[in-house]
Symmetry: C2
Subunit: 349 residues, 2 copies
DNA sequence: CTGAAAGCGCTTACAG
DNA sequence: CTGAAAGCGCTTACAG
């Protein structure tokens, strides 16, 4: 069958197998297997004997064989949204860190797939082979994304958990930040600071992240009877250039709002840059706030007042929930977990 | 054996197996297997029959079974250096994008492991199980890192390729940016602009990335007989705060250099911020340049003159080289590939 | 071109 | 507590 096991590119001697260890200690393979992966079901002395032999011989189990046999891969597949030419979003990266740490802790592997939300042909998941992962973690997946990549519970045939975006209506357990509440509090802060004419800068009006944030903004405005006087700008993109574009619209206004809440830190930075270039002072002429609390937010000039999300914690919680579902510890019921955000006051607003 | 196949968390019907397809078309499993993974070795009509049945029945192969049988996982393991509490370096992220794209193109999976260079106990690789990946891609691994994580050709038992850092002396094929040349050209540019007293800002004097960059800086200085008059500052960290620290030392100087080359963009941004706060003008009082050409470099105020590295391309080339070695297309000889850098002129210098 | 058989390296009921 | 056996779902020389 595979006498030429190990490709031409390999280095080193052939791997030690379970059978080799068994032979060396004079025990059956089943006993050795148990001693290694189910130590309590074996005589303590046997256990020790086997474990020492395994260590001495440099035995490590074969992942494919084990998975094939017991039906679990102890690997999770993480789907991160591609932004085309642009680098992966720093927010997603931070969630990923949490996922790595938790997966590591539980000795799970993490397989990553970058998926293009717009590209219908990226059927990476429609034909997801079996035996590759026990579950799927979707980070910041849009509805379109979920549909196009086959990230539905049925078509994947694997449990799915969504992070950062709420897909409980698709029967997918989701862990999100309290985006609406975050913007509600930020808006409160702006109103308390005396602002009466506010603006909101979004990227696309119906984007997954824009909807709850804008809702929180409007809700707070309504509570102070200010909802009729606000303005909403569209940058068109969730990044620095998007903020610049929005700032142009802002500058063109005859009667400008005195405070603007941006959908993200990157957008806020672009907005600030443009209004500063136009000679305005931030926050004196216009207060500008962001959302995300990226590493760079503290270093911006002026430093950004923003909403901090527990990205790392969402990653940890997501990995844990998914693994618990995979192992049957938790049911796959479409629960929604909302993690608290916190307002970070700095110079820009 | 595994009658309870599929964990309690799974969704959907049991997977279709090769044998199911075989039965449905009245052919042997071997023929079906060939028709699907080695189409040329089968009668065209048979092929079509099988492929249609497979599609109709929603068959996808089982990755574990296939790997176990043919000895290849078609997966690469990527080791990215952990920065502790900090987010993964944006440079590494961009390399990763290239890796994803190329792996995808070749239908390879990408398994990620974040490894802590300082943490000796992170023996993630020492006990790397077989059947998990065909090769390892190490991104920006330091020597210490490689040693501690068992990333040596012998101990991993798998081919390794190093990206961004040169480990050919450890018999590891490496793909790096022309860092020395990049700084040589940047320094040329500064000298041509009339600067005669220059400074270099490093993070740690013997860091993998500092050595070649500083060497390029010094070499160019020497060519103009300027090597005795330069200053080197240490920020201690490869980030914004590191640049701030270095700027303090700079400001304390009685006779200050007129141009400073920083080891990275983040460091340059910190440096600029601090000297601006001290009332200096950039580039008029002091010209400051970075290295990396991060997305934010263009948005900094002033925008950064810097050295651009082909990070995405290095990722693509790295994945391709590793896969070629795994499949035996290329030998695992410790070749060194040096990708060209380019000087990006903006406002800061 | 196709089929029957052996084998990849594990795990896990089932006996004892 | 341990062993013998069957089985996970594929692939691939080997015959025909």
């Amino acid at each position: 069958m595979n006498s030429t096991k190990g490709n031409s590119g390999d280095a080193g001697a052939p791997r030690v197998r379970l059978a080799d260890v068994a032979r060396s200690v004079g025990l059956n393979r089943s006993t050795v297997s148990r001693a290694l992966s189910n130590p309590d079901r074996v005589n303590p002395e046997t256990r020790k004997l086997v474990q020492e032999a395994a260590r001495r011989m440099g035995y490590t189990f074969n992942h494919s064989a084990r998975s094939l046999s017991n039906g679990r891969t102890e690997t999770i597949l993480v789907a991160v949204p591609s932004r085309g030419q642009q680098s992966i979003s720093p927010v997603v990266i931070d969630v990923l860190r949490g996922v790595f740490d938790e997966a590591n802790r539980q000795s799970y592997g993490v397989l990553i797939r970058e998926a293009n939300p717009g590209d219908v042909s990226s059927r990476a998941y429609c034909a997801l082979p079996g035996g590759i992962a026990d579950g799927i973690l979707s980070i910041s997946g849009t509805a379109q994304h979920m549909r196009h990549t086959g990230l539905t519970v049925e078509s994947a045939g694997l449990p799915i958990v969504s992070l950062l975006t709420n897909h409980v209506s698709r029967q997918i357990p989701s862990i999100v930040a309290a985006e609406e509440q975050g913007l509600y509090e930020l808006t409160s802060y702006l109103i308390d600071a005396g602002h009466r004419k506010l603006a909101y800068v979004s990227c696309a009006p119906d984007s997954e992240h824009d909807v709850p944030r804008y809702r929180g903004f409007c809700r707070r405005l309504a509570e102070s009877g200010l909802e009729d006087d606000h303005v909403a700008f569209m940058g068109g993109r969730l990044d620095f250039p998007g903020g610049v574009v929005a700032a142009e619209s802002f500058l063109a206004l005859s009667e400008r709002p005195t405070a603007v809440a941006c959908v993200s830190d990157e957008v806020a930075m672009g907005f600030i840059r443009r209004v500063k270039d136009a000679g305005l002072q931030v926050p004196d002429d216009v207060a500008v706030a962001g959302y995300d609390d990226l590493a760079g937010a503290a270093y911006n000039c002026p430093s950004l007042t923003t909403v901090s999300q527990p990205t790392y914690e969402i990653g940890v919680a997501g990995a844990r929930l998914l693994i618990d579902i995979c192992t049957g510890l938790t049911s796959a019921s479409p629960q929604l977990v909302i993690m608290p955000t916190t307002l970070v006051r700095r110079e820009s607003a």
